[in-house]
Amino acid sequence: METKRTTFNNRLLPYLLLAPQLIITLIFFIWPAAQAFKSSFEREDPFGMSTVFVGIQHYQRLLEDPNYIDALLRTMVFAVCVTSLAMILGLAFAAAVDRLTRTSRIYTTLLVWPYAVAPVVAGVLWWFVFNTSTGLLPFFLQKIGFKWDHDLNGTHAMILISIAAAWKQISYNFLFFLAGLQSVPHSLMEAAAIDGSGPVKRFFTISLPLLSPTTFFLFIINVNYAMFDTFPIVDATTAGGPAQATTTLVYKVYQDGFVGLNLGSSSAQSVMLMMIVMVLTFVQFRYVERRVQY
């Protein structure tokens, strides 16, 4: 790891400077993670008096549990929906704003603020818009003969939380895509225009390929977001229902552990999630190093 050419040579000071961060990390991050790892191999008796080592039993049960497999698949579907919706809209807005010169700052302001809305508020807002008795959209959907009911229909509930989750993430993708588009060399665009390719063709043959590092980076970030940061949306609106139709992996960890008090299973689920985050982080950082290619 690189460092400065000249450095200070105090012995104690660097440890003092690092101490606050390291202590917090050890106590509140690494210690609980180690605990989760440990108790994922143990079973506690109902009164918490003794624990027995049970090996990989919790993992075995988990992988045989259709509820868990369902939640896993559901989370993947949810992540794909949220990621594609948020990225396609973000890219479309960015491409449109990139075309404009004088008004681009105004449109940027108009489009970035949803990032600041808390996920729980985003969830509640869309929940209200889609509310079956008082909401706006079900009213209009009814007029074209479509009955919207996210309280009973699992697919509708999934659509609801996907829209709420994607809505919040559009501005993030928009900003990164816009920065990416603005760094596409102008000369390439001019050369292509002289050769007779129109704006649409230029977008698909020049901008989009050059944006691929940004796209890949955003893909990882969005999947991460959809899997781990959307807990408030689910908890405040559908609460995992109807009939588990919106129970994502994180929500299941919370429910089994905190509400159902099944410590062993919840820990095993935590460990599985940690592995998912590790893979995502690994991919992200391998890639970030090669990011400055163009």
């Binding site: 000249t6 961060q21 990390t25 302001t109 508020v121 209200f128 008082t134 704006p199 405040a236």
Partner: protein
């Protein structure tokens, strides 16, 4: 722009305006609903124009309404949100600038290890280790306290990385000159590095304030005492009303209050916000 295409320009504007309308729709609906009374809201689709209960709804919410649900009033919860966001912002920035300084400007045994320990926090978001973290905080007697609410959220790899990256771009000559002039590590940090990091600190402040303001899961686990409830907890409590009738007019007024401060910060500090977002990369 490469060439002038008037029709395409008009289409671009139309598309963006339409996009904005769709993006702003739920917020517009919320603002309108927060000015109605409950019977109006319950009797059909939300009116898309302002009602006459604006002042009444907001005053009730800020002074006494939530008392009925066993919640403190909204000004109390807003104050809690503000304290939490500020402590997290200041705490995160302080500890990460110090550790980045140690990692970049000193050579000492276990430096690499310290770096990796900090890096690992990226892989362990609260969401994946809910139960054990709760247990440890409970064992330390930190439930229902400001310390428990904020300190576990203060460690952050991203802020440390941002400062580390920035310090690496500070010319070595500055340090050499400072050392020739007899400045020690603390003086160098305070008089040279800190002023140079001003913009980075500002950008991080915006991002971290929003991060602290919108925290949900951690306060949900940590606080049973409603005196520590933040606005986000208030939202959750109001929409899970036990008797089945959700007071939508107050919920919507509460949403507006909960989202207004961070939205205003993003709009008025847009430059710092974008800088913070693109440089911390998460």
């Amino acid at each position: 722009m490469v060439e002038n295409r008037p029709i395409l320009n008009i289409l671009t504007h139309l598309f963006l305006i339409l996009g904005f309308v769709v993006v702003a729709l739920p917020v517009y609906v919320a603002v309108m609903a927060s000015t109605q009374d409950l019977p109006t809201l319950m009797s059909g689709p939300v009116p898309l124009w302002p009602g006459s209960h604006f002042i009444e709804n907001y005053t009730q919410l800020l002074t006494n309404v939530s008392a009925a649900n066993g919640l403190p009033n909204y000004s109390h919860m807003a104050m809690n949100s503000l304290i939490m966001a500020l402590v997290i912002t200041i705490g995160k920035i302080s500890i990460s600038i110090l550790s980045a300084y140690a990692i970049v400007y000193f050579r000492f045994p276990f430096r690499q290890l310290a770096f990796w320990v900090i890096f690992v926090t990226l892989m362990l978001p609260v969401e994946v280790r809910i139960m054990p973290t709760y247990k440890i905080v409970a064992d330390l007697g930190m439930l229902n306290s400001w310390a428990g609410l904020t300190i576990p959220l203060i460690a952050s790899a991203t802020a440390t990385f941002l400062f580390r990256q920035f310090f690496m771009t500070v010319p070595d000559e500055l340090l050499e000159a400072a050392r020739v002039d007899g400045a020690g590590p603390i003086k160098f940090f305070r008089d040279i590095l800190l002023p140079l990091s001003r913009t980075n600190i500002g950008a991080l402040c915006v991002i971290l304030f929003i991060y602290g303001w919108i925290q949900y899961l951690w306060p949900l686990l940590m606080t049973t005492d409603t005196g520590y409830y933040t606005l986000m907890m208030g939202m959750k409590r109001m929409v899970t009303a036990q008797d089945g009738i959700i007071p939508w007019n107050f919920v919507m007024a509460g949403s507006v209050l909960a989202m207004l401060p961070p939205i205003l910060i993003v709009i008025f500090m847009q430059r710092l916000f974008i800088r913070g977002l693109t440089e911390t990369e998460k």
